[in-house]
Assembly symmetry: C2
Amino acid sequence: MPSGVAPLSRWKEQQRKRMELGPLSILIRKLLSHSLLSTSDQEAIAALPHSIRHMAPGEAILREGDRAIVCPVVLSGFAFRQKMASDGGRQIVALKLPGDALDLQSIYLHQADHDIRALTVAEFALVPLPALERLTAERPAVARAVLTDILIESSIGREWLLNIGRRNALARLAHLLCELHDRMNDIATEASAHFEVPLTQEQLADLLGLTPVHVNRMVRQLEKMGAIGRPSRSLTILHFDSLAKISNFSATYLHRNNISGV
Amino acid sequence: MPSGVAPLSRWKEQQRKRMELGPLSILIRKLLSHSLLSTSDQEAIAALPHSIRHMAPGEAILREGDRAIVCPVVLSGFAFRQKMASDGGRQIVALKLPGDALDLQSIYLHQADHDIRALTVAEFALVPLPALERLTAERPAVARAVLTDILIESSIGREWLLNIGRRNALARLAHLLCELHDRMNDIATEASAHFEVPLTQEQLADLLGLTPVHVNRMVRQLEKMGAIGRPSRSLTILHFDSLAKISNFSATYLHRNNISGV
DNA sequence: CGTTAGCTTGAATGCTTTCAATTATTGTGG
DNA sequence: CCACAATAATTGAAAGCATTCAAGCTAACG
């Protein structure tokens, strides 16, 4: 597995820019990972009005049935979308990492069909939707980048359908960890040999369509194989290749490096 | 269950318009079900250049890895998106009915991450992507309608994740049939007491993350309960309410009548 | 230092799959 | 128009993966 981490010099450069551009720089960075944006476009995004909000694990930023008036952008921590079954069963239908925008769905759809919640302690930038609408209306490249982002989330959703529908529990878990590895790698601010996954086994279960008990057994199994480590209560990805082999992981659905062919 | 079918007079009016506007009128009708479009916008859509293509069941209109140069619109018959697991297992990740556009993903993502195929004998209008891009660039309302369409497909995908991840086989099947009932109802050209579902049990299995054998057992069960009928080899939805009760179906995720609040 | 949330484990149950074989329907060619 | 081939549906029995239930354990937090 290639590390994909930028050389130190490039990283310093990025850091400098991030400082200049403020909190939303992380969103810009994410958009740049799959779309082209001029300096002026980037500055316009950075200049979007926004407020900062801190949230505790499990806290809802948007509830099913609500109509959003802001677009939340994850600055730090993880967030997720969830849907509830009538019997109380929960399904997590998307996972959002720092830099991810929780889309502008609400501009177009009047009722949220799911909850959005903080997974860990998390920090969000809340961008008023009208400001975002104006920006995308004025700047086609930004509109394109945002749409690309939405389409990539859809693509990930399709892969999750395949994962839950067709893979057994061990491969399912391994596949999710591979995806997280790559997505965390993309936003890592420093080179790191392995990544910590801040999900409880119950959350993993709700994500994978399994029970916590069975997730535990699969986690143990991956641990025995040396693919993952478990410092205290946490879970770290140690050996991507093993996980990729178990789940036949292929990252094409993440559409990274989408820029090349524009 | 409300029939949702338009009164005859309104239907005749629609028929007339459809005649005037040509093959793409069905797409316009679909977009109008969730978005507002001026007469001029509608005419512009109808005037999109396109060619007609007929396809046999199972035939691919786009393959994983391909880059599309046209946006296919379903005119008649059903189509679907599928992904393959490495072990040969297939997962159908979306179902497309007449009037559905198979999105403009390819404008923004360079590589298709899944196959698009005809489910039944089907007819497509192929709209060149550049023409579509031009239209959405010039007409914000059209762009909005198309984006809304994409977001609704995403919403359906999330519901499918919940369906496959958290419901048992019987509820899963019942839920799918409810969704199909509503979606077919929306595009029905004439009032009809029940709808025919043109899916084989194998296709249902690939859709629901089950095996054909088990789908058969669930189908049998729904039949015994009187919820569905099976004229010859086909499957018809007889009693929506039973199916809705079994699966606790709620149609909000389909975002019909989205217009009201724009 | 106790409380609590999260993790772990075993045993029994059960839903779904797998395997294997048969029947029904559709379509095709003679 | 009938026979045959091919596709789809059906059924039973056995096996297996995952769930459920129940209890005990461990790390983190106040």
